[in-house]
């Protein structure tokens, strides 16, 4: 196996550069004559803007422009793109609220963009922003997702008196009702999926640069899908896409959050056009809590019907999900795009899902790592534990009775998934051995002697990865045989550079020192849909595989021509002829390919290839998490003491990258279950968790060693046999940990605990259970 072959733990090529401060993040960008902008945001969750006076601000030294909603409305720009395609319960199209860069007469969340000051320095811009006088008439606000549909809830948009954005149903209601009618037992639980924020290490930012001479816009901004971003931005700028260049640079985390075209992107471009300079806007950390899109936030009622042996007969899921105050393309996907995960790895024959998406006076919502997958996995895996507890069946045994067996593949679940492959019982058994499930009761008893309540939790999960779509890739050999690799994918930290270089170096036998990876620049990358939804290894990797295959085919022809043989083989990039015992390296072929005498008649010079891979079906990464917690009975403090994961993400390109993805995903899931939460004051609608002094993030000290083992069942859905890996960790972690917490307290009569399970909440849950027993 070659040094860079599939499965080799190649250390990340990008790290030396990034760790030494060589990254080029958005705030590192400095353009000649660049001005700086500051967004003045709404201090109210809901208010009318009665008047705005910017005259004092305009007069301050250094100020170049002060833009308001009126300037946006008067500009050539259209509003920002919004979500499409969903309907209300009565079948009428959903209301699509306008999404201007700057609002004119009404603010709808704390953080809404009201004015933009452009000055020579950011200090001048901030100074001037303080001089803008705005007369607000505060209105009642609604920030609670569950309460948004109450008849007397304040209206976010006049056009939707019930605050309902859209309704989505999935599954088979009649069959589910019939299943419930013959149930031996029905388990029910309300589950609140809290609102969290991505808190990416790099905050958002944008530099807009309008070139008046060429009538062309360049936007520099962290994002996930450069070419899709350009297509969306085109609708706002009202110019052909070719008049727009989008450049992403290095990206310090996104998790879905940076995937949209945000207000500030439109605003810096408008400002640049007006002041005739590049204009930079950078979100401070405080800004990021106020104005970043948030994730999750739904309230779900789930019911599971079982027969007397614990066979799942049917499941009902009713969800109210927040979309926030405005929508963007893709924001509708969080509540509905990944409901398939609700069916889990089980044979449940009938499922009925009903989702109501509601407007609230809160930040817009975006996909957040898993984008509905962790939410759905949490729902199914929690209700199984609730049912197991109520029926007195071991939760692992209950799962086992309902698993889809490998012989049943391909398997069509009661929801949207048509699972191509997977060995779920094997995953579960492997994880149970790793986590010594059999020996758990002894550990529980030992912990009890130390005053600790120990619990174990298991989750099986499955999700859709690499949804049908395309990705582009390109390989360019230059005159001296070094290589530039381009991809339409956009790494936000996942390590695309490493995975892609591995493929290229292994297939073409070139040295990584000779390979440059380039992404995220729409003037360079010809085609692509970008990174998200665990799609890049499968789709982007396959696109690159297509390109290396094209290169190899061409190289073979050139080698045959040059060596005058017809038996050229390519092994790890070396072009070899057995009959003549001669060989050439890819580098030699690349150099030779620029001399016409080396080429067969009619062949184009040069060794370049581009490819677009089309994925027709998704794949289904799956796995089992087993974790253990210890709860301090007196204080409610939780310690995560054991964590084991078995994942089936198909073939593993690089186990180091994979483990990094799983660890990070687990950390995000654990963060949400134990500590993270965006909270709003119910009266004022103010964001109460607006800084890292209040918004708790998980840290290394909160984790034990996480053991990750792979149990790959390669998929046939792409050229590499890989399934997605980016979201899997987060999907499995939330339910496994929640189940462990409840298990630790279940002898007290505890049936469920909401997230985040802060020490006080755990303590109160135990106290309430004890009081109920007494």
């Amino acid at each position: 196996m070659g040094e860079f072959a599939m499965g080799q733990p190649v250390a990340r090529f990008e790290d030396p550069r990034l760790l030494r401060g060589g990254g080029r993040y958005i705030d590192d960008l400095v353009l000649p004559n660049m001005a700086h902008g500051y967004v003045l945001r709404s201090p109210h969750a809901h208010a009318k803007i009665l008047s705005i006076d910017t005259s004092a601000a305009q007069k301050l030294p250094g100020v170049l422009a002060v833009l308001t909603g009126q300037d946006w409305a008067d500009s050539t720009f259209a509003d920002l793109p919004t979500a499409t395609g969903r309907k209300r319960r009565d079948g009428t199209p959903m209301y699509r609220p306008p999404f201007p860069g700057l609002v004119k007469d009404r603010v709808r969340y704390v953080g809404d963009c009201v004015a933009f000051v452009v000055a020579k320095t950011i200090a001048q811009a901030m100074e001037a922003a303080e001089l803008i006088e705005i007369d607000y008439e505060p209105l009642p606000a609604i920030t609670s997702t569950a309460d948004a549909i109450l008849p007397d809830a304040p209206r976010v948009w006049e056009e939707t008196p019930d605050n309902i954005h859209f309704v989505h149903t999935e599954g088979d209601k009649a069959a589910t009702d019939a299943a419930f009618a013959k149930a031996h037992h029905i388990a029910k639980q309300r589950l609140v999926l809290t609102r969290v924020t991505a808190a990416s290490m790099e905050t958002r930012g944008a530099v807009g640069d309008y070139d008046a001479a060429a009538d062309r816009y360049t936007i520099y901004s962290p994002l996930q899908r450069a070419l899709v971003f350009r297509a969306e931005l085109m609708t706002t700028l009202r110019v052909p896409e070719s008049k727009i260049r989008v450049v992403a640079g290095d990206i310090g985390g996104s998790f879905g959050m940076k995937s949209g075209v945000f207000n500030e992107v439109g605003i810096v471009l408008l400002a640049s056009k007006i002041v005739g300079r590049p204009v930079k806007w950078i979100s401070t950390r405080s800004d990021s809590f106020l104005c970043d899109a948030h994730g999750r936030d739904n309230v779900t009622d789930v019911e599971l019907a079982l027969d007397k042996d614990g066979k799942f007969l049917g499941m009902r899921v009713k969800t109210i999900a927040a979309v926030g105050s405005y929508t963007q393309p893709g924001s509708e996907s969080g509540p509905v795009g990944n409901l398939g995960t609700l069916a889990g790895v089980y044979t449940t024959p009938a499922i009925d899902v009903d989702v109501t998406a509601v407007f609230t006076n809160t930040n817009p919502m975006r996909p957040y790592r898993g984008n509905g997958r962790p939410e759905a996995a949490y729902v199914v895996e929690r209700i199984i534990d609730v049912a197991a507890d109520e029926m007195g069946i071991d939760p692992v045994e209950l799962r086992r009775r309902n698993l889809i067996p490998p012989e049943a593949m391909p398997y069509k679940t009661a929801l949207s998934f048509k699972i191509d492959c997977g060995e779920f019982e094997k995953n579960m058994d492997m994880a149970l051995v790793m986590g010594d499930y059999a020996g758990f009761e002894a550990r529980r008893a030992a912990a009890r002697k130390r005053g600790k309540l120990r619990g174990i939790g298991v989750s099986n999960s499955i999700e859709r990865a690499a949804a049908p779509g395309f990705e582009g890739s390109e390989i360019r050999f230059d005159r001296t045989g070094s290589v530039t690799v381009l991809s339409g994918a956009v790494t936000q930290g996942q390590g695309h550079e490493t995975a892609f270089k591995q493929i290229v170096c292994d297939d073409l036998g070139v040295s990584p020192n000779d390979v440059h990876y380039l992404q995220g620049d729409t003037d360079q990358v010809f085609f692509g849909e970008g990174t998200g939804g665990s799609r890049t290894a499968g789709i982007g990797g396959s696109a690159l595989k297509m390109a290396t295959t094209k290169i190899i085919d061409k190289a073979k022809k050139i080698a045959s021509h040059m060596m005058k043989v017809d038996d050229v083989e390519c092994v790890e990039g070396l072009l070899t002829s057995r009959s003549s015992n001669r060989s050439m390296t890819m580098k030699e072929i690349a150099k030779a390919s620029l001399d016409p005498k080396n080429l067969p008649v009619g062949m184009e010079a040069g060794l370049n290839a581009s490819a677009v891979y089309t994925a027709h079906v998704q794949n289904y990464p799956n796995g089992t998490h087993v974790c253990e917690v210890e709860i301090d009975e007196e204080t409610g403090q939780v310690e995560l003491v054991e964590y084991n994961v078995v994942d089936d993400v198909g073939n593993v390109i690089n186990p180091l990258l994979l483990k990094g993805q799983i660890y990070g995903g687990v950390a995000q899931g654990v963060g949400q279950i134990l500590m993270e939460e965006i909270r709003f004051d119910p009266e004022s609608g103010q964001n109460l968790s607006g800084s890292f002094m209040d918004y708790a993030m998980p840290r290394a000290e909160h984790f034990p060693h996480i053991t990750v083992k792979s149990s790959p069942v390669p998929t046939q859905t792409n050229l590499l046999g890989v399934k997605g890996a980016g979201e899997a960790g987060c999907v499995g972690a939330m339910p496994a940990l929640a189940n462990a917490l409840v298990d630790a307290m279940s002898h007290l009569g505890v049936k469920h605990i909401e997230m985040p399970a802060t020490p006080e909440r755990v303590w109160r849950t135990m106290e309430a259970a004890k009081a109920a027993r007494a």
């Binding site: 100074e127 204080t635 403090q637 500590m675 968790s689 890292f692 708790a696 802060t758 006080e760 109160r764």
Partner: protein, 265 residues
């Protein structure tokens, strides 16, 4: 950040002189609290007088009966002091769990005590270890120093030069860290001086406070069970979205017992 004049003080006298001369000046030590408020434009002093160059304000002096920590000593230096670890480990440990490493290498005892954040750790030591706050003008008893939320006995142009602690027979500090900030949601210092006992609580209330009922019970019988039934009143405590007053009251009891248990061994 608003504009301000910056001064590097040569010594304490110079700092006080510059402070008195300025319109609305402020001392800056580690800047861990002051800088964020400046950056968020929540405070706009006319002048900043930096104590960073005054070496005489740095250091830990340990004797058998007293520990003196000079005003500009950072938390990390307190935590790492070998003499202190031997003579009064509770204080070294307290300094070692303030915030994170970056904060511990910048933040100072003078700044912490002067700031009187209700969730800061040092106040539990100043009160629990019978401390004395020394300034350029006078010595203030620990028990009289903290007035209320972010309010101390300091006069406008007074600079903290050192904090003195009485070495107890035994002491232990227990802290429930805020999951986001690392500050004390509840911090309890229990110290035994012969027959006398001090129990000082930070984080839980608007101001550090002693718990006389616990002290009396422990003076009778220095054992966790002695205070099993001594509760602090939740009505006097802080409640916020992270922890209610009731939970804080509960935690004061738990942590006081655990501190005693740790001392008894």
């Amino acid at each position: 950040m608003h504009n301000f004049n910056y001064h590097l003080a040569a010594d304490v006298q110079d700092a006080v002189a510059k402070l008195s001369k300025s319109e609305d000046g402020k001392i800056i030590s580690g800047g861990m609290t002051l800088l964020p408020t400046l950056k968020n434009r929540l405070s706009a002093p006319s002048d900043l007088i930096d104590l960073g160059n005054i070496d005489a304000l740095r250091g830990v002096v340990v004797s058998k009966t007293e520990v003196t920590i000079k005003g500009m000593t950072c938390h990390a230096d307190v935590a790492a002091n070998a003499d202190l670890q031997r003579v009064l480990p509770a204080l070294a440990n307290l300094a070692g769990i303030i915030g994170d490493p970056a904060v511990r290498h910048r933040g100072t005892i003078g700044g912490s005590v002067a700031n009187a954040d209700p969730a800061a750790d040092y106040p539990a030591a100043v009160v629990g270890l019978d401390g004395v706050v020394e300034t350029n003008q006078r010595r203030i008893n620990g028990d009289d120093f903290f007035i209320s939320l972010f309010e101390t006995a300091l006069e406008p142009n007074e600079v903290i030069t050192a904090v003195h602690f009485k070495v107890p027979d035994a002491a232990h500090y227990m802290k429930f860290r805020h999951p986001a900030s690392g500050y004390a949601v509840v911090g309890v210092m229990v110290a035994r001086y012969g027959k006398k006992v001090r129990v000082a609580v930070t984080g839980a209330g608007p101001n550090v406070f002693r718990v006389p009922a616990m002290e009396a019970a422990l003076e009778q019988n220095f054992a966790p069970e002695a205070i099993a039934n001594v509760a602090v009143d939740a009505d006097d405590l802080l409640g916020d979205m992270h922890c209610s007053a009731e939970y804080r009251a509960h935690m004061v009891g738990v942590y006081a017992r655990r501190a005693v248990a740790a001392i008894v061994g």
